[in-house]
Structures are given as structure tokens and as C-alpha cells.
Amino acid sequence: MVKDLEDVVIRTVSRILVPFIQIYGLYVFVHGHGSPGGGFQGGCIMAASFILLVVAFNLRESKRRLKERTNAIFCALGVFIYAGTGYLSFLYSGNFLDYGQLSNLFPTDPIKARYYGMAMIELGVQITVMAVMVSIFLDLITAGKHEETLEEDGK
């Protein structure tokens, strides 16, 4: 009976905490320009919210919220956003990853365009880091057999 009470406490608290962890991860990412933070740190914190769901509940709860196909698309989407921002400055006859040329796209001066270019690439980094951390964790913890672990949880 103590084990059931422990489960109730852990499950309730983690169900309440998961949205706050995600908001904190987004906060750390957005405030990367003015205080310590940035893409890598925010991505790891957001991955921790999905890992908390797997640890407190079973695998099915985390897979219901972040499907495997979406996770795999997020892995590649972040690198695509990063390289795409570097490629955009080719179209305005600049160097690769030269964010000053993005002032032709946004209505700001070249110095502020570097600020916005940095925010875009940090978004790409955050998406990739979050997806890859969740993917590696799920692969290692089920030893590759996702469907069999889902079947065992159903019983």
C-alpha cells in the first residue's frame, strides 16, 4: 500500500510540473541574448520534461504527447533551419552565415539584423538538441524494442 501511495504522489507532482519545465526551457532559450542561456541549454531542459514523463509513468504517456514521427522530423528540422539561415545570405550576395545581409529581408539596420540572425539559428539548435536527446534516451532505455515495451505497458 505504501508503494501505491508513492506512485500517486510522484504521478501527480510530475503531471503538474511538466508544463512549467517546458516554459522554463523556452524562457532560458529566449533570454539567451541578455543573460546566460541559449540554444543548447534550453533544448536540454525541454528534453528533460519528456524524460520525466517516461520515468514517472510508462513509455506510452511520453509517446502519446510526442510521437516518434514528429521527433524524427524535429531532428532534421533544426539543422535545416540553421543551414537555411546561412544560405539566405547567399541570395543577397554575401558570405555564408553573414547575418548582416539579412537587413535586406527584415526592415532593420545591418547591426540589428545580426541580432535577429542569431535568434534564428539558436532556434534551430534548440529544436535539434531537444529531439536528439529524447530520441537517444528512448532508444537506450528500451534497447531498441519500442513495440514490445509498449505492449508490456498496456498489461
Binding site: 543573460s35 546566460p36 543548447f40 538538441v129 537506450l140 531498441g144
Partner: protein
């Protein structure tokens, strides 16, 4: 001699961690313990680089925007080792993830994680 100890003792701590990781990689038989030794080695190198960037009386490398033209580099800690070690940490995570995957595959094939049993099974 004492001011040599007082000014350089942080490097001694990192050398001790390097020795612990190195011994763990060489002398232990279990593959998982070798992997943990490699991880300790890697983290000691990361800490060593970060301690190179410290400055006496310096604060974190976020400049104060209110004193715009008069920023002195003397007040702020060197940001360059922090940046390089962010990359090193991420590469370390990638390496550890793939190494754990290889350990799972070895366990599936040989049924054990001890090095001498695997070497004997390989000789046959």
C-alpha cells in the same frame, strides 16, 4: 614554493582526475567501467579549459549595456574557453550515447560485458 602551490593548485586537481580516468580505462575489466573512466577523463579536460579563462576580480562575460563605449576587457572573464567547451560537452554526449549503444549490441551477441570472456569467445 608555497606561492607556487597556492597559485597552481587547481591544475593539480585536474591532473589527479586525469590519472583516475586513465587508470580506470586501462585496468578495469568490465567494459562499462572503462566507459566511465573515459567520461571522467573527458570532464577533467573540460574543467581544465574553463579554469584557464578565469580572471581575478572579473565577473561573468555579459557586458552591461548602460556603459556602452567604455567597456574594458579586464573586468570580464574570458568567454572563449566557455564557448569551445560547450561544443566539447555536446560532442562528449554524442560519443557516450554511441558507446552505450555499442555496449548493448555486444551484450546481445556475447551475453557478457567482461573483457576477458569476450576475448576468449573471439578466439574460437
Amino acid at each position: 614554493m608555497t606561492d607556487l602551490i597556492l597559485s597552481n593548485y587547481n591544475y593539480w586537481v585536474y591532473v589527479v582526475l586525469i590519472m583516475i580516468g586513465f587508470y580506470g580505462m586501462m585496468a578495469k575489466n568490465n567494459l562499462m567501467k572503462k566507459l566511465i573512466g573515459m567520461n571522467i577523463f573527458q570532464w577533467s579536460i573540460i574543467l581544465f579549459y574553463i579554469s584557464i579563462g578565469a580572471k581575478k576580480g572579473g565577473t561573468i562575460p555579459v557586458v552591461d549595456p548602460s556603459l556602452h563605449p567604455a567597456i574594458r576587457a579586464l573586468d570580464y572573464v574570458n568567454p572563449l574557453p566557455h564557448v569551445l567547451m560547450l561544443t566539447a560537452i555536446v560532442v562528449g554526449v554524442a560519443t557516450t550515447g554511441i558507446a552505450l549503444t555499442l555496449l548493448i549490441l555486444i551484450y546481445r551477441k556475447y551475453g557478457t560485458l567482461e573483457e576477458d570472456e569476450i576475448l576468449e569467445a573471439l578466439k574460437k
